[in-house]
Amino acid sequence: MDIQVKNIFYTYQKKATNATQALMDVSLEIKDNDFLAIVGETGSGKSTLAQMFNALLIPDKGDVLVNDYVINYKNRKSRKLRGLRRQVGLVFQFPEYQLFEETVEKDVAFGVKNFGIKGEEALNRAHEALKQVGLDESYFKRAPFDLSGGEKRKVAIAGILAINPDILIFDEPTAGFDPQSSKDLMNLITEFHKNGKTIIIITHDMDLVNIYTKRVVMLERGQVTFDGTPNELFSYIKGYDRLDTPSVIKVAEKLKEKGMDIDINQIHTNEDLVEAIKKWRNKA
């Protein structure tokens, strides 16, 4: 499923004196099966943009096209947009706040039921999604409120996975996750990508961008100011203190400054860095 964003504008609290213009003339094309990161400092418009993709927010001006769906001001009340939400799953930044059922399995099944899948089938889907995020049978009957913060997050993510959308959007998916859970979740997301899903990740975590994504879009004050590969981004944001260069890139850059012959574009993981150092030593 392709997404096309055409010159959209959005303002919060339009009538208030302190109206905040969150998006200004944003255009963007996201191809089917893209793996894209959206970065930018707090308040740059990342989450606002993401909410346009499943019509939770409607642009004041401009269009968002998701396959056959047209999201714009004129269509804002169209019933058709409901179908869109089954195809575009959005995992919010604090999804754990949205848990409300008595048990974990009921909570995950709730979304599925909303789309007309009933009874046993809904529960089966819920169980499968829970296992995907690493929560086994022992969690199914527990109350969501007794879980830890990270476990609640996993339940909320399972709730979206159970609907099986084509496009998955994650707003800060790993914030508050322990390293193993982060890795597991990112591997799971990578797996979805391989199976044909379009993945959009909103994040501050540049390590995550560097390791997992191929394309990054950066927003600044509601405008797209960068669209390219992670490595291109890291040279673009040098000296920009709102975003952090990954540690592995920092080391590579410092070594390059000292005179090491090292191709920073090839550095994504620790192994890449060590391999480059090895080559340099062998040459020397």
């Binding site: 007794d146 975003l243 150092i277």
Partner: protein, 272 residues
């Protein structure tokens, strides 16, 4: 020395699953302790037990050698401040100065001295220029620093941070970290207990506790504990970046015991 001492502490939410399982440790006054552990290991529960937000199922908590009971719990609570993860959930006042003043007003602090006190603590978190601002106009990092000022103004003896930086952007993280680091250095009497997933942040503390399935499995200096990769892997934690690279470099014949990126780069460069 006065201290916080935890003896055989246990807790369960449902009466059967032990979320905290027979934990004992003590923290000397003025120590900066990081509590690490995977999601669901019991970190936040431990924090809530210490401040009495949850009732323990078993064990004892001593503060300055006095056992905390239902009767004197209030005494401990007035000496403890807790900062949560989400900056939006702890902003109570309508402006920055109202928010910082909230706790003082609750304690009937004399009004004529209040403004000076607010300014002093706003300054200590680098927010003196923002006193009249409303929360909507603040970044996450600024809100967390206001929360810190509001906590410190009550002069706690224990400050507990429950993932206080995990929802912030890099700039927010680093400003809050700097403020915490300075608070630690300037307040020799203040004990800081920081619950975190950020291993690099834990490197800054004096002591690390690692929880796994409700049990305390490791305790010691960060430089020792965070180099023990197999022990960390067992509890699903990662080594700090610098240590990880060092380990991989060892395999190609570069020995480094650096603690920082700059040191590491120097060691690599001179290994040629």
């Amino acid at each position: 020395m006065s201290k916080l001492e935890i003896k055989n502490l246990s807790f369960s939410y449902d009466g059967s699953n032990k979320v905290i399982d027979d934990i004992s440790f003590s923290v000397e006054k003025g120590t900066f302790v990081s509590v690490l552990g995977h999601n669901g290991s019991g970190k936040s529960t431990l924090a809530k037990l210490i401040v009495g937000l949850l009732d323990k199922a078993g064990g004892q908590i001593f503060f300055n050698d006095i056992e905390i009971t239902d009767k004197n719990l209030k005494d401990l609570q007035t000496k403890t401040s807790l900062i949560f993860q989400n900056p939006d959930n702890q902003f109570i006042g309508s402006t920055v100065e109202d928010d910082i003043a909230f706790g003082l007003e609750n304690r009937c602090f004399p009004h004529d001295q209040m403004q000076a006190e607010i300014e002093r603590f706003a300054d200590s978190v680098n927010m003196l220029d923002h006193l009249k601002k409303e929360p909507i106009n603040l970044s996450g990092g600024q809100k967390q620093r206001i929360a810190l000022a509001g906590a410190l103004i009550l002069r706690p003896e224990i400050l507990i941070l429950d993932e206080a930086t995990s929802m912030l952007d890099p700039k927010g993280k680093s400003t809050v970290r700097k403020v915490i680091d300075r608070i630690h250095k300037e307040n020799k009497e203040l004990t800081i207990i920081s619950i975190t997933h950020d291993i690099d942040e834990a490197l800054l503390s004096d002591k690390v506790l690692i929880l796994n399935k409700g049990k305390l499995v490791k305790e010691g200096k960060p430089q020792d504990i965070l180099r023990d990769e197999s022990a960390l892997l067992e509890v699903k934690l990662d080594m700090p970046f610098v240590y990880k690279i060092e380990k991989e470099l060892k395999e190609i014949g570069i020995n480094s015991n650096a603690e920082t990126i700059d040191q590491l780069v120097e060691d690599i460069w001179t290994s040629k």
